[in-house]
Symmetry: C2
């Protein structure tokens, strides 16, 4: 339960999808909070103090107590501000299934898509791309009969997978690869559109062109580090 007077601060950057998860969750719960934008090339003393292990954003500071790791913060938000909407379902079995897909997204989908994005065109990229398509198809399958992973309402799985709904378009534009195709993945494609219609999601996306620039540069940096073939 949040106290009557809560002091909530979110350390984030303008672009990271991990921090957006927290923005969405706090706004869905109606929690007032203060935003602190970090420059990761010049991290603040506060960030280093509050997340000494990973030195990364997001960090949530609640009444002076720091929490890091976006998926851990999401569980914390749901357990602290217990009002609707619930981010996880109420029944333990449904919660387990949600946590399963969150883990799948984080440990399987994200690395595969990232790998495809950061490889130069060629065999390695093709392999990473195939892997990412296999994983994404499983998400498409899981959406059978559902609008969102949470059902009719946005839930923690939707929030955790939210990066798919705009970053993937950026990756597609930069690489020319199609990750979420409306013909082969109609459900995931519809989910992406539905998620983008939800106000907290729609209103908080970083500027698309800025993301495009950022990730173009980032990909070039990766490619320049690849061993010469």
């Amino acid at each position: 339960m949040g106290d009557i007077i809560d002091e909530v601060k979110l350390f984030r950057t303008w672009s990271t999808p991990f921090a957006l998860r927290i923005v969405w969750a706090l706004q869905l719960k109606g929690v007032q909070y203060q935003t602190i934008y970090e420059d990761l090339s010049n991290k603040s003393d506060a960030l280093l103090l509050y997340n000494p292990i990973h030195k990364k954003v997001p960090v949530l500071l609640h009444n002076s107590k720091p929490i890091s790791e976006s998926l851990v913060i999401l569980e914390y938000i749901d357990e602290t501000w217990t009002q609707q909407p619930h981010l996880l379902p109420q029944h333990p079995y449904d919660r387990a299934i949600a946590r399963f897909w969150i883990k799948f997204g984080e440990n399987e989908v994200l690395p595969a898509v990232w790998d495809a994005f950061t490889k130069a065109a060629g065999k390695e990229q093709e392999e990473a791309y195939s892997r990412s398509i296999e994983k994404l198809e499983l998400l498409d399958e899981e959406l059978k009969g559902k609008k969102l992973f949470g059902g009719e309402e946005i839930g923690m799985v939707d929030i955790a997978l939210g990066w798919l709904s705009n970053l993937v378009s950026v990756f597609e534009e930069i690489t020319g690869l199609k990750f979420i195709d409306e013909h082969t993945m109609p459900r995931l494609s519809a989910w992406k559109a539905a998620l983008n219609e939800i106000p907290v999601v729609k209103e908080n996306w970083p500027d698309y062109d800025k993301l495009l620039t950022k990730f173009t540069v980032l990909r070039e940096t990766y490619l320049s580090k690849e061993p010469q073939k």
Copy 2:
């Protein structure tokens, strides 16, 4: 809450530390369950049905409903059988800290130690070993003033990190590397001893010599696949 008549089955192998987590949790909670031993070289139809995504153990089957991913199962057990001992602390902040360390163990410590274990002696192994020592030292630090990560009683962090308390000895014996040194990591070393004194832990370790044989063979398989230098 578990039903009055629960049917609980655990799919496991004799050796995997991921399934041991579930054994410990069920036994701590006093949950009666049936064990099904899988042969991973010849997976049962049941395993493929219940864990179609990963096709791995452990799988918990509770009243015919399957749950996979050991860390997801641990949360499920704690939420379903709500009697003492609680595996996670009760306060959301303490729960977040516990989940942080569980994630750290899984995403940072485990891959680093595994990497050091599966590399041939040489520069790559040295680097992986240094990385694992850095991570393990952070665990040692976190134990300051505590007997176990859960305090006086075993909790979910202890269960999740439990593989450190016997597998690491196997890895040490095989590689000659010292991962948990009683002089440089006195707290983690004491934790390891304390965990091994807890009946559900002590009574369920697989046979040490069998583990030694298994992991010796496994390491050789890894080394034989390494690119020639």
